[in-house]
């Protein structure tokens, strides 16, 4: 039963390294969403349903979308 937790922690660390070392900005932002999703699953394994719900909604939903809106503004100003 703990094998699943160890694999998820390993996947989260690989995702964090990918978010810091990639060159393309869109790939970094999607890796941040992946880290939030795996952290929400790990918090469910630690028997904390309130915190898991909050991290899933705010981390994987609102944070990724405000990053992508910022990228939209920057590319928009780039083309003009």
């Amino acid at each position: 039963m703990m094998i699943i937790s160890y694999l998820l922690i390993l996947l989260m660390i690989i995702g964090a390294l990918a978010a810091v070392l990639f060159e393309n900005l869109l790939n970094s932002i999607i890796s941040l969403g992946l880290i939030s999703l795996i952290a929400a699953a790990l918090m469910y394994f630690l028997k904390a349903p309130d915190v898991a719900m909050t991290e899933a909604i705010i981390g994987a939903g609102l944070t990724t979308s405000i990053f992508i809106f910022t990228l939209l503004k920057i590319r928009r100003s780039d083309n003009q």
């Binding site: 349903p49 309130d50 909050t54 909604i57 939903g61 609102l62 405000i66 503004k73």
Partner: protein, 240 residues
């Protein structure tokens, strides 16, 4: 520098009993030594007694969800500070980005499938957000989660139409009303019982919907405030 900080952190968190300045082993925390034991037995100000679901009448804190009873009853002053920080962040973002608002953010509307799907999904998500806010003292959930779900429902509307606008005056009025009501409830507690934000209504049976004093009222106000603030943040970012 990162390696030195990592070494210090690992030494600080090394478990075991020979290191007397550190925390106990993972999974073996002894709840008798911590203050959480009083929160679980609901005996901060009174004696310990047994508490059962659907049978205890008038316990000290009244809500079946322990995390809710900590946030909205025992440590409600920290929640007031957190609401202030959210307000400052939303106001700062409106000051920086609120100058020249464009009329539309995307070039055209989304396709027909997206528009029809949003028409079906938007009332359902709004209803789910209100359900999560109102049942905060019985199931996992509460004001913060419900407010974020309402903000996500409004984000869905922004993605479907190219010139969807929110009424900023109405949003700021709603948010101010919720914040001022929170303070007025705290002041009523100060006038009737002697300390800020005490529970001045009755507590009822543990586990029914109309129970737990002022905890559902505080959570509904927090849900309205967080939902309005996050929607305002998204509206300012899209139309900047």
């Amino acid at each position: 520098m990162v390696l030195i900080l990592g070494f210090i952190l690992f030494q600080a968190f090394a478990g075991g009993s020979e290191n007397t300045l550190s925390i106990p082993q993972f999974g073996e925390a002894n709840l008798e030594n911590r203050v959480s034991e009083h929160y679980i037995n609901k005996s901060v100000n009174s004696e310990t007694e047994s508490i059962t679901f659907n049978q205890t009448l008038n316990p000290e804190s009244g809500s079946a969800n322990y995390v809710t009873s900590i946030i909205a009853n025992y440590r409600a002053l920290d929640t007031l500070g957190e609401v202030t920080v959210l307000f400052i962040a939303a106001a700062g973002l409106a000051f920086v980005l609120g100058g020249n608002q464009k009329n539309y953010a995307f070039a055209e509307d989304a396709s027909f499938i997206v528009r029809t799907g949003v028409k079906i999904l938007f009332p359902l998500m709004f209803l789910l957000g209100i359900y999560i806010i109102v049942h905060g003292h019985l199931t996992p959930g509460g004001g913060f989660q419900g407010g974020a779900v309402i903000a996500t429902a409004i984000l869905l509307k922004f993605l479907a139409y190219k010139d969807y606008k929110l009424n900023h005056t109405g949003l700021s009025l709603l948010e101010s009303f919720a914040g001022i009501s929170f303070l007025i409830i705290g002041l009523i507690g100060l006038l009737t019982n002697g300390s800020f934000l005490t529970n001045f209504l009755g507590n009822g049976t543990l586990g029914t919907l109309f129970s737990a004093g002022i905890i559902p009222i505080i959570y509904i106000l927090i849900g309205i405030k967080v939902g309005a603030e996050l929607s305002g943040i998204i509206s300012n970012l899209i139309n900047a």
